[in-house]
Symmetry: C2
Subunit: 152 residues, 2 copies
DNA sequence: TATTGTTATACTCTATAACTATA
DNA sequence: TATAGTTATAGAGTATAACAATA
């Protein structure tokens, strides 16, 4: 029935991949409900925390890093500013630009989210034997580079 | 600075995990734009294809399998029915229930999506050496079970 | 009373196109 | 003309609460 010959190894790989994706999705759904930030908001604000100490960044910069369009970032920042998690000010040197910075509450929220993510990673890690840990790190890194080489 | 002692192995695992997630997200973004179905729609309709040959299922059944609420499934089915990818009929035996079935176009759309997913998996698989393929299948399966055991 | 599904409502995420203001 | 950002518009996905119809 299939157009291509069956490949048991590929089938095993695909099945494992599916199981992994589904398990990760369920795990995320279990944790997300009471988080202060959605995943998208976390991705958008992360560069501000990494820039450190209230250092502001431009909207375009945040949008590009998070992989969203500028209007999407504007909308998201609207909501986050309304919750007083970020400030948005017109830049003095270039009056077209805005300078977006984390408030204390905003930095705390991003920190909290990061800590949760670390805790989840650690809980997963803790389930593995030492050999499995090494294998997992190697495989995930390898898959990441493989993805980048697939029909760019 | 960190509250817990540094663990280079955990750090390597977490970094590899992050890289993997980001690479997967980028790959998905590259492929999705011209697909007939979104990922959510595909997840909702998959059980209908698996049930086979126009066999109808109830709305609640589809919602539960896809992990969404009943109103969400109703909305999604509204859109899919408007595009003539599914039919929705009141059941004769239980007049509360609706029977949702794929049309020919709907089945073709789900098939197409599945074929694309397989092609992407295969392309990734093809990047790996035989040893890496075995290791990847083993690790992904292991991580899936580990997820299920994390603070249920 | 319990179940199936829909409507009402509300919010987030997402994009493209058109616009403003500044450089 | 080019760049930074916003507004307008549109649509998907998501949920909870309230409802209708049927069992």
């Amino acid at each position: 029935m299939p157009a291509t010959a069956a490949d048991p190894q590929l089938d095993a790989f695909a099945a494992a991949f599916d199981d992994f994706v589904r398990a990760a999705k369920r795990a995320r759904a279990r944790v997300e409900p009471d988080a202060l930030l959605t995943t998208s908001q976390y991705d958008l604000l992360c560069p501000l925390l990494d820039a450190g100490d209230g250092a502001p960044l431009g909207l375009r910069e945040l949008a590009r890093a998070a992989g969203v369009s500028a209007p999407t970032a504007t909308r998201m920042i609207d909501g986050l500013a309304a919750r007083a998690l970020v400030t948005r000010e017109r830049s003095a040197d270039d009056r077209r630009a805005v300078r977006i910075a984390l408030t204390e509450d905003g930095a705390a929220a991003v920190h909290q989210q990061r800590a949760r993510q670390h805790a989840r990673r650690r809980a997963l890690f803790d389930q593995l034997s030492p050999g499995e840990r090494r294998a997992a790190a190697r495989v995930l890194a390898r898959l990441a580079t493989a993805y980048e080489r697939v029909e760019h």
